[in-house]
Structures are given as structure tokens and as C-alpha cells.
């Protein structure tokens, strides 16, 4: 079919989840192709030969890789709910914060989780999370204002994965006391229908984190560290 959309990925990946949420927001029908990262499909290797990672979006037979690149492509290619602001200046700011979440926030938060809340990692994680907290000033419901945008989607890991990891680890990183706006944002974000429909069941994440903390050198941990993007 000419306009066929396929998404190659895995339920547990927060980067794949970003794309699912974007597809839901745009109300695009797609086929989800589940990948086994220990036995990557010939299609995945063909469509993302450079990184061999998920997610990969296939649109009319053409592949696009890297979750934030995919989301920008989707906003270019499809009408419907805008994922980025129209104004070039606002767009630049949205891109800046999405990149910040990707490059700075998520890696250090992940590191703090992996190190079971080691002091130096925690301090650095808090420093970066505070920038996000500050971005939610002026009573903004979402980073995108009244509606979800690229920045909200980029921070899906913070909204949902971190909570599951915190419970599995018995560690509180994003507390209501320290992050009143961010915790409220988490609640608002994960309760949006388009987001809810894209998130994996919490029990699956809990199960994964509990198992993973018991055996920290597992394969999936290494894949995550190299970023499935």
C-alpha cells in the first residue's frame, strides 16, 4: 500500500514509545513490528544499517531512524496535531529542550538509577531535572503549553520509566516536594489518551527493572546505554 506505515521496535523502549505517542497524536494507522534485539530482523538491518537500532519508521517503503528525527519528519509529512510550534523561534526553543532531555537529562537520570542513587550521579541528575522543573513555569500544563509537543514526548522516559525504576529500586528521584511542577506534568502527560495508548503496561516495566537490577550486565542494559535513540 502506498502510504503504509510500519514501526519497528520493542514495547519496553522509551524511544520507540515516543514514536508511538506521536503516531497516536497524529491519528496515523500503523503496523507495529516487534524486534528481538538479540536477533535483529533482516528488515531492521536493511532499514537502519548505520546504527542497527530501534525505532525505525517505514513510510511508503522509506525508512527513517532516530526517534527525534522521526517525530520531526512526521510533523513535516502529516497534518493533524502539530508536534512542533509553527513559529521558527518557538520551534528552536522546543528543539533545544528536546535535545537537552535526550543528551543531558535522560543519560544522567539513567546513570543515577543504574548506580542505585550514587551521590555524585544523584546530584548531577537533580541539577538537570531542575532545569526541566523551571521550564514548567507560568502554569504550563505541558512543555508545549496547553498541548503536548516534541519536548513532552522526548521526556516520556522521565514521566513513566523513572517511576517504575524508582519503585523497583526503592529510590525516589522525582519527588513531589522537590519537583511539584514536574510531578504534576508527569500525571497530566501519562493520562493523555494518546500517551496512555502508547505506554507499555507498568507491570512489564516493573518486572523488567526488578530483573535487571538483579543482573545489571544484561544485554538490554547495554543496548539502552548505547541509546536506541
Amino acid at each position: 500500500m502506498a502510504d503504509e506505515v510500519k514501526l519497528y521496535g520493542l514495547d519496553g523502549s522509551p524511544f520507540v514509545c515516543r514514536v508511538k505517542i506521536a503516531l497516536n497524536l497524529k491519528k496515523i494507522d500503523y503496523k507495529f513490528v516487534v524486534e528481538d534485539l538479540r536477533n535483529k530482523s533482516a528488515d531492521l538491518l536493511k532499514y537502519n544499517p548505520v546504527h542497527k537500532k530501534i525505532p525505525v519508521l517505514l513510510h511508503s517503503g522509506k525508512p527513517i531512524s532516530e526517534s527525534l528525527v522521526i517525530i520531526e519528519y512526521m510533523d513535516d509529512a502529516w497534518k493533524g496535531a502539530p508536534l512542533l510550534p509553527k513559529d521558527p523561534y518557538e520551534k528552536a526553543q522546543a528543539r533545544f529542550w528536546a535535545k537537552f532531555v535526550d543528551d543531558k537529562c535522560i543519560p544522567i537520570v539513567f546513570k543515577a538509577i543504574v548506580s542505585h542513587g550514587e551521590e555524585k550521579d544523584l546530584a548531577e541528575a537533580h541539577e538537570q531535572l531542575q532545569f526541566l522543573e523551571n521550564q514548567l513555569n507560568e502554569g504550563k500544563k505541558f512543555f508545549g503549553g496547553d498541548d503536548i509537543n516534541l519536548v513532552d514526548i522526548s521526556a516520556t522516559f522521565i514521566a513513566y520509566w523513572v517511576g517504575a525504576a524508582e519503585e523497583a529500586l526503592g529510590l525516589k528521584l522525582v519527588s513531589k516536594d522537590k519537583y511539584p511542577k514536574l510531578t504534576e506534568w508527569c500525571d497530566n502527560y501519562i493520562n493523555c489518551q494518546a500517551v496512555k495508548d502508547g505506554l507499555p503496561p507498568r507491570e512489564i516495566l516493573l518486572g523488567f527493572f526488578k530483573m535487571w537490577f538483579a543482573t545489571p550486565n544484561s544485554f538490554v542494559y547495554n543496548e539502552f546505554l548505547n541509546k536506541s535513540s
Binding site: 548505520v50 528525527v69 522521526i70 520531526e72 519528519y73 521558527p88 523561534y89 528543539r95 537537552f100 535513540s229
Partner: protein, 230 residues
């Protein structure tokens, strides 16, 4: 763009990321005021303008709050003045391809150079050089597909990827020389080697490319703040 001081750019002569933005501004013939930052002693303006990263480049446009991160700045400039030397292609898929390779260049290719600088042991250096060879091979294939037989990634004229990669030519050449390496080996990657010579001599880039002394002095500085350790 009218008034020269309507656009201000905070940068450092030796920074390839600042050079990148200057390259784009020059291609678009957009006037701007350049403010040289001393990264050993960052100005209040820089720290206030980029509190998250405290890095150059930073673009200050009229009375708007600052825009940071060189790729984001270049896309912004292209969006506000697409009529002046358009850098990103019009087709969505081609734009996605540009952004993919831009991410590869900044997240995979260039960090190898920082790693090389910080690695003193020979075995480590050789391993990094192997990765660099692989990375340039990937970029060679990307160039061949993107250029379609023409001079630049953008075709007949300089495009987004030419700007994104072009700004690294001088810097990486400097590191190559220090490490007895040639990433743009003509035998291995003929097309990219030809492209590198071409882009380095483009007036819009050449005019902002730092000289050897500037680079040496800057490397001296980085070696103090982020010394080799491997």
C-alpha cells in the same frame, strides 16, 4: 536582514560549532555582530544566555531570548530566511535524511576526535582510529547518495550537511596531524577527500576558519580543562 547588530553571535574563533553558524550566516549574507568569548573566563552575557550548557555558540536575534546549540541555530536561520541560500531541502524525507546524518556527525563522528585527544595509550588510539575509518566510510556513502554526482552534499550548491560537516575539517585536520593520521585518505574515501578540499576553500567558511596558532592555543586550553586521561 537589515541592521548589523540585530543578530549577535557569541562564539570562539577556534570552535568548529561557532564556525558552523558563521558559515551559515555568511552563505546567507546575513549581517551579524560577532562577539569573541574567552572560554577560560566566560562572560556574564554567555552564562546568562546559555545557563544550561554555558557554551558557544549562542545566537541573539533582536530582542528575543537566546538560541543555543549550533544545529538548532542553523535550522532557525534557514527557517527565518529560506529565501537567502536555502540550506535544508524542501522534501520531508530529504530533510529527515539531513537531520539523521547531522546527528551522526555530531554524536558519532566528532566525539571520536575528542576521545582521540584524551587517549594517550597507543592501543587505545589505534582502536579509535579504526572507528574513525569506519565513520568516514559511512560518511563517504552518505555523500555519494546525497550529492548525486555533484560537488556538495547539497548538490550544486552548499547544503545543510556541507555546513554541519564542513566546520570540522580544520579542527579534525589539526588532530590528524598530531596523531599521524589522515581521515580523508584519498585512497580510501576519494569522494569525501575531494569534497573536503572543496568545502575548506569555500569563501564563506575559509573566512572564519581558525589558523594554526589559534587552534594550538585553544588545544592548550582544553588540555588543561579536560586533560587526557586514558
Amino acid at each position: 536582514m537589515g541592521n548589523k547588530s540585530e543578530i549577535k553571535l557569541l562564539g570562539t574563533a577556534a570552535s568548529p560549532f561557532a564556525n558552523r553558524v558563521q558559515f551559515a550566516l555568511n552563505l546567507k549574507s546575513m549581517k551579524y555582530e560577532y562577539i569573541e568569548e574567552n572560554l577560560a573566563c566566560k562572560s556574564e552575557l554567555l552564562i546568562k544566555s546559555n545557563p544550561v550548557h554555558k557554551k558557544v555558540p549562542v545566537l541573539l536575534h533582536a530582542d528575543k531570548p537566546p538560541i543555543c546549540e549550533s544545529q538548532i541555530i542553523v535550522e532557525y536561520l534557514d527557517e527565518i530566511r529560506p529565501d537567502l541560500y536555502q540550506l535544508l531541502p524542501s522534501v520531508s524525507l530529504d530533510r529527515a535524511n539531513c537531520r539523521f546524518w547531522a546527528a551522526y556527525i555530531d554524536n558519532k563522528f566528532f566525539p571520536l576526535y575528542e576521545e582521540l585527544r584524551q587517549t594517550l595509550n597507543k592501543a587505545g588510539q589505534e582502536a579509535i582510529k579504526e572507528q574513525m575509518i569506519e565513520a568516514t566510510q559511512q560518511l563517504e556513502e552518505a555523500f555519494i547518495k546525497s550529492s548525486n554526482g555533484k560537488t556538495y552534499f547539497g548538490g550544486d550548491q552548499v547544503g545543510y550537511l556541507d555546513v554541519i560537516l564542513g566546520c570540522f575539517i580544520r579542527w579534525t585536520q589539526h588532530v590528524d596531524e598530531l596523531n599521524d593520521f589522515n581521515k580523508f585518505d584519498e585512497v580510501r574515501i576519494l569522494e569525501l577527500a575531494k569534497w573536503a578540499k572543496c568545502i575548506a576553500s569555500h569563501e564563506a567558511l575559509k573566512s572564519v576558519t581558525p589558523g594554526k596558532e589559534t587552534l594550538e592555543s585553544f588545544f592548550g586550553l582544553i588540555n588543561i580543562y579536560r586533560p587526557p586521561y586514558k
